[in-house]
Amino acid sequence: MQLNRPEHVRTALTAFTAALLGTHTAMAGDAGKVDSSLLIYSETNRVKLAEGVVDLNKQMDEQKSYALHLVFDALTGASPNGATPSSHVQTFTGASGHAGYSTPAGEIPLDSSFSDRRFAVDGSISDQISRLTMGSVGGHLSWERDYASLGINGSISRDFNRKNTTIGMSAAYNHDTVSPIGGAPTPLASMPAASVSVGEGEGEGEGGGGGGGGPGKGKDIGDVVVSLSQVLTRYTLVQMNYSVDRESGYLNDPYKLLSVVQDEGSAAPGEPVDYLYESRPGSRTKQALYAELRQYIAGTATDVSYRYFWDDWGIRSHAVDLIEHIPLPRGNSLEPHVRWYSQTQADFFRTYLVEGHQIPQYASADARLTAFDAWTYGLRYSLPVGEGNELGFSAEYYEQTGTRAPPNPPGILKQYDLFPALTVFMLRIGFTHAL
């Protein structure tokens, strides 16, 4: 028998009797909620995107609940196509639907014909299989002009130690189909009819290049996640995940190129003589270890997480994410958010290829595969609206920086910033309604 019983017996008892006597209106969100958000995303001089999301979670009875997640986005703008700048105007044949596009001298070539709409739907059903075990199954569908995805997933979790420990396992399988506009190009083949308008070194010419239409290219993705969450104290919760993902099939980006540039000692070192479509391996295995801590101190809740990622393409990354929930009077709140990210370069990443050197089996100049650091800074302001509803506004800034260009590029490439920082501004409006 314990003498030092916690006073919280009284608090719990008050809640239990209130539920019994019906004097307690079910906590907002007990029956479910509808969460929605609108995101306006704008990269400086690049891609602009508007995305709307609706998330519905509904508790059907004591055991079962379902969730439905709908996404619609529309994007437009320009994205680097992987080629390097030149002192001359460059012209490209885009696989993305344009007859061709040009880049002024001295600028990073951007494929400006990006314009797409995406629609995705995810659904899942969860069931309390037994007092301590919960299972769920779900499906995923998404469509874009040149990409479709179909998937199923399932998970199971079990509680231990008076529900202080939860262990979960989830698995997912997705089959994606890439149908590039103009067909999937042959990897490392020359871009067709690419004329370098002035100067030496004519392109390898026609031929090769654009694959001719045909059925879309497939990609299979399987994921498994093992997670453990543990209550440490009345104010602290930790979670740890290990995830492994294997993808195989068509993993290239059909719209990305590499410039083949003249070597030092040539007539115009650093100027492009040809453009080749990129080539990535046909499989990729990714793994990640993730840990998250939630800590409540004097009214403020801190959420800090760390993820270490590694794969068989040579990429290693760290991501540290910190969000503070600061309550303000009358149910309002402020959430500042900071994230730091750092990744290494993929083994087959090449800023450019050099004429006369052996072409490697795999090569890509996609800026997303190079080494960089990124910072996110954001702030969200939330306020209650009516019974059980919340409105939120947030502004965020994302920036990728860090030297990525190889030392000593040939010729004129020395004078260009081959990877100008990517900067993004984001605004979000969110509305949560408790059912």
Partner: protein
Amino acid sequence: MPSSSTAPFTIGTRGGHVVATYSAMASPCEILIRTADAGEARRLASLAHRETLRIEHKFSRYRDDGVVHTINHSNGGPVAVDDETSRLLRYAGQCFELSEGRFDITSGVLRRAWTFDGRETTPDRALIESLRANVGWDRVEFDGASIRLPRGMEIDLGGIGKEYAADRVADLLTAEAGHGVMVNLGGDIRVTADGEHRWTIGIEDPARDRSALGQLDLAAGGVASSGDARRFCIVNGVRLGHILDPRTGWPVADAPRSVTVVADTCTAAGFLSTLAMLHGTDAEAFLAAQDVVHHCVR
């Protein structure tokens, strides 16, 4: 437990309040209402009377039209329950966890091993052990919509029923009357706020019936008592009360003669007073830690 479906209620007055009395749940029941309108008084008294009987009949172990009887005779099969029963069962489960197993509505079967007539007795240990095999809320399957008791197990809502009824009747009358009332079901009391009025409640001396030990002065809240003044037995010269610890099958040693607790509701007060008794020698310390108005008599 005799039912009293045919006995009427009687109306009187006491110090500015109308008092309605009736008999239900094997106890004298009394409702105090501040009203000058006799018709209104009768209407409210009738509501109180009917609601008390409804709860008594629905959750009685003896009446075969009650849900508890159905559950106790389900022979291991699942029984679908309605919203009110579901809430009571869920509350019982929460109390089980909150009390770490001391408060257990499946512990009623243990009474078959004990006779609390005030006399010396030698308990049958083998019987107690075999009955303990049928005790334990954690063996019950309850998902909110239906309950499945393993064969041999029984539930008894006697430990929650009267306090629940006091709260239900009080809430019902308060909503109907538009002002506060006092409901006293055999010592399980709930008072609801009636303007500036403060209700006066006497605490009974367990040793001497009807004589007040003290008085409580409440604007709103619930009062419940646990005690073993009348029902006890003697084992090896030691006096043991009738409140059994479900975890051992034996009465709690050194429990106070009576415990009275004041809380926001009669149900909460009842839980705390029972749990205090189950702490035996530590009853006072337990109640002190809960920071509630209480009164212990040893």
